[in-house]
């Protein structure tokens, strides 16, 4: 029998931290808050490591841990039960590890913020929900984490709530996620209706269910799940919230909107891989969505000038890669990229944060430049991350992206179209990443101190100080660690170690050597192509943003309308506003509230009352006050009565 791992502690520890900081943080000192926050998130990380250590000793996988009853209704039940297998272990390590690092980083980044304690309480809260999501033993518990991380991101995006844009962004994130959750919920209802349970054990029954001719239902379930995933992982059409989410403090962007939360969708899809595998149509949908998102977001990334927005769109695009992988049934590849992405994208954000920190809250890349001399460490780490994401070997990004592209090309569900788009995207990715790199660190500094003061005013985490300067150690250490991970993180993929590790989860046949042999050369050529794409991107960026800095403007003018469209993210936000938001609000106000509620229903009620009064007035006029008329009423009435009675009497005999 399995040893008891007390998995429940892992999420609960950060919760405790959140509670302590939330209730007592206001009183206690910054140091105290820091201690609590780091202690509990660190403890979670340590525990995760310990679990990983004991993982091999687990006799039967997946490992179940029942904690307590939660909902019992009739024969339906959902409990607080945890579930551990290779997949959740990977996620567990990523979340706790990166999370812990970012906690450390935040200590430095948020030190001067007035509501320091609130930030860490939220951050711990997020950890709690995220870990619940990862370790959940059934969909409903997963849904708790699912919505919970949404809440946390709502709180953290709106952390500087005095800034309207931040507040709105938080709200937007929550609501868009809710739309995704709507799909998720419906999927759950379908599962309940047809499987009677939400525990992951239902997967065992999927095949038989499909055999019973219910593939259509499975497809529906899968697509609905995908809707949920699309909301959480910012895929088309629900990606709009993520760029806005950059209103939050940069560590938040790093943790939630790059490393962990946004990948929840990928995790969920992989978790439900059984369903997807049995619903090819759904798989196709996933693949298409992923591919499109990857390409689409990347194109937008080209034209962004806000450093964080660029990263945001790149995140969306990278998530697209992951779904692409899932869509072709290469879940392990998706997870692999998820992990590496967590490293380098986290690093990128933290680096960007460091940059912003350095230039006093400035986020516009056009006001940066030449920073490599001011902030060498940041520059170094950022460069590693950029190389990694651009897919230069032998960095992490190279392995995972290459894996995906290969799988996309080779797997049964894949096709060369996906691959092509993937490669183009890779090229674009490397282009805009190096664009960012050049604009930020090369050339000469275009920012001014006045700006930094100016920006200090709008509630940003800025402190008016002279000149760009390197961040404190506490921020650099996480950068360094992540940089290392961004380099070596991909090596686990060499020789399919990662695949094999996850194989039992995804029930893949261990990749037969024969397949490797046959595909060997092909894989090699493809790799060359993708790497070439990366180099091409680098060169183009070098050309446009370092060598001939006047060109971009020309090209932009040349492209004209299209360029504007790209700059304005294809006007998607405006489109949604025009299509959904405005009609909804106006319709509700004018038609529903003013017309239906006031003019129809309420009016009807009041009219009924007035009508009664009208009649009443008529009735009163019977009361003319004239005796003879009264007598007349009596006479007439009696006549009627008599007539009736006579009729009755005659009838009676």
């Amino acid at each position: 029998m399995n040893p008891n791992l007390n998995l429940w502690l892992i999420p609960v520890l950060p919760l405790a931290g959140a509670a302590i900081n939330g209730f007592l943080g206001k009183k206690s000192s910054r140091e105290g808050v820091t201690a609590v926050a780091l202690l509990f998130s660190g403890a979670a990380f340590a525990m995760a490591l310990w679990v990983a250590g004991h993982f091999s000793s687990l006799l039967l996988l997946p490992y179940h841990e029942f904690v307590a009853h939660w909902i019992r209704s009739g024969n339906f039940s959902a409990d607080f039960s945890f579930y551990l297998d290779q997949l959740s272990l990977v996620m567990l390590l990523v979340v706790t590890g990166v999370g812990f690092l970012i906690h450390i980083y935040s200590v430095g980044y948020m030190w001067d913020d007035p509501s320091y304690y609130r930030f860490f309480s939220y951050l711990n809260l997020f950890m709690f929900f995220m870990l619940t999501l990862v370790l959940a033993g059934n969909y409903l518990l997963m849904f708790i984490g699912w919505e919970g991380v949404g809440l946390a991101s709502y709180l953290l995006i709106g952390f500087w709530f005095t800034k309207d844009s931040a507040a709105s962004a938080g709200k937007k994130a929550f609501i868009v996620n809710r739309i995704g959750d709507f799909g998720f919920l419906i999927a759950l209802f379908l599962l309940i209706k047809h499987f009677g349970s939400l525990n992951f054990q239902v997967f065992h029954r999927v095949e038989s269910f499909k055999a019973a001719g219910n593939e259509g239902l499975l497809t529906a379930i899968a697509i609905l799940l995908m809707v949920g995933a699309a909301g959480k992982s910012a895929q088309i059409p629900l990606y709009v919230w993520l760029p806005d989410a950059m209103e939050g403090p940069t560590p938040v962007s790093a943790l939630i909107h790059a490393a962990t939360m946004v990948t929840a969708g990928v995790y969920m899809v992989s978790r439900s891989h059984v369903i997807f595998e049995n619903a090819p149509t759904a798989l196709m949908v996933v693949a298409i969505i992923g591919t499109l998102t990857a390409f689409f977001a990347a194109t937008i990334g080209i034209a962004q000038t806000d450093i964080k927005k660029v990263l945001a769109y790149s995140t969306i695009s990278q998530l697209g890669y992951m779904f692409m992988a899932c869509g072709v049934g290469a879940f392990s590849a998706g997870i692999f990229h998820l992990m590496t992405h967590a490293f380098f994208k986290g690093l990128l954000f933290l680096g960007a944060g460091s940059v912003i920190h350095a230039v006093g809250g400035e986020q516009d890349m056009r006001k940066m430049g030449g920073l490599r001399s001011y902030i060498p460490w940041t520059f170094l780490t950022m460069s590693i991350a950029t190389l990694a994401i651009a897919g230069f070997p032998p960095l992490a990004g190279f392995f995972s992206k290459d894996e995906i592209l290969w799988k996309v090309f080779s797997s049964a569900h894949g096709s060369w179209v996906f691959w092509l788009i993937g490669v183009v995207t890779a090229f674009i990715t490397s282009f805009y990443m190096f664009r960012l790199w050049f604009m930020t660190f090369f050339g000469d500094y275009r920012g001014t101190q006045a700006d930094s003061h100016g920006h200090a005013s709008h509630g940003h985490d800025s402190h008016g100080h002279g000149g760009p300067h390197e961040s404190p150690m506490v921020m650099l250490v996480p950068l360094a660690i992540l940089a290392v991970l961004s380099i070596v993180g991909g090596w686990v993929g060499i020789g399919n170690h990662f695949d094999n590790f996850l194989a039992p989860v995804f029930e893949l046949p261990l990749p037969a050597q024969s397949a490797a042999e046959s595909g060997g050369h092909m894989e090699f050529y493809l790799t060359i192509v993708s790497v070439g794409a990366a180099f091409l991107g680098f060169y183009l960026a070098y050309l446009l943003y370092h060598k001939r800095q006047d060109l971009p403007q020309k090209i932009a003018d040349g492209l004209g309308g299209f360029y504007q469209a790209v700059v304005h993210k294809y006007y998607i936000d405006e489109l949604y506003a025009a299509l959904f938001v405005k009609p909804l609000i106006d319709g509700s106000t004018r038609i529903l509230w003013q017309d239906v509620d006031r003019k129809i229903i309420d009016a009807a009620v009041n009219d009924a009352g007035d009508g009664a009064r009208q009649v009443s007035d008529e009735v009163r006029h019977m009361q003319s006050g004239n005796i003879r008329s009264y007598a007349a009423w009596i006479a007439a009435g009696s006549a009627v009565v008599i007539a009736f009675m006579i009729w009755m009497g005659v009838g009676a005999r």
């Binding site: 003319s624 003879r628 008329s629 007598a631 009696s638 007539a643 009497g649």
Partner: protein
């Protein structure tokens, strides 16, 4: 023979009643009403109710109508002016009255049987009546005293001059 008498008295009744409606001056109305009562007394005689007939003449025509005439004199009520305060009276009341009476008449003709009433069929001897009045109907008879008491009191209360009442409380 009786029929003729009946018709004669009846004619007087009808005439009197119609006249009551027709006359504009209360006095004339009162007089025609007296005529009606007298004629009715005759009808009672035909029905063999001598005692009733007598009382009819003495009490009704004699006492009550005198009271009426007296009041008319007292308030020297003149010819009534033709105001029309009520359309309802004409729109509903009169038609209602007519239909009602027609229906009743019809019922009477149809369903009350036409067996005729012989004269003196019911000798209303005062003794029999007294037997009824003071034995069987003793209680109502006694109770009428209360009725009359009330009537007197009411008359006193209502007809006495308001000043009197006012002066009394002052």
């Amino acid at each position: 023979m009786h029929l003729i008498l009946f018709l004669a008295f009846g004619a007087v009744c009808v005439a009197g009643a119609v006249n009551l409606l027709a006359q504009r001056h209360p006095i004339n109305g009162a007089l025609s009403l007296i005529a009606v009562m007298a004629a009715l007394a005759g009808e009672y005689l035909l029905l063999g109710a001598e005692f009733v007939a007598a009382v009819q003449v003495i009490v009704y025509a004699g006492a009550i109508m005198v009271l009426f005439v007296f009041v008319i004199m007292l308030l020297n009520a003149g010819v009534e002016e033709q105001t029309n305060g009520s359309r309802v009276a004409l729109l509903f009341g009169v038609p209602g009255m007519l239909t009602g009476s027609v229906l009743v008449a019809w019922v009477v003709l149809q369903h009350s049987g036409t067996e005729s009433v012989p004269i003196g069929a019911l000798p209303g001897h005062p003794t029999d009546i007294a037997q009824l009045l003071f034995h069987d109907f003793l209680l109502p008879f006694e109770v009428t005293s209360v009725l009359i008491l009330i009537a007197i009191m009411g008359a006193v209360v209502l007809a006495s001059k308001p000043e009197a009442a006012a002066g009394k409380v002052d």
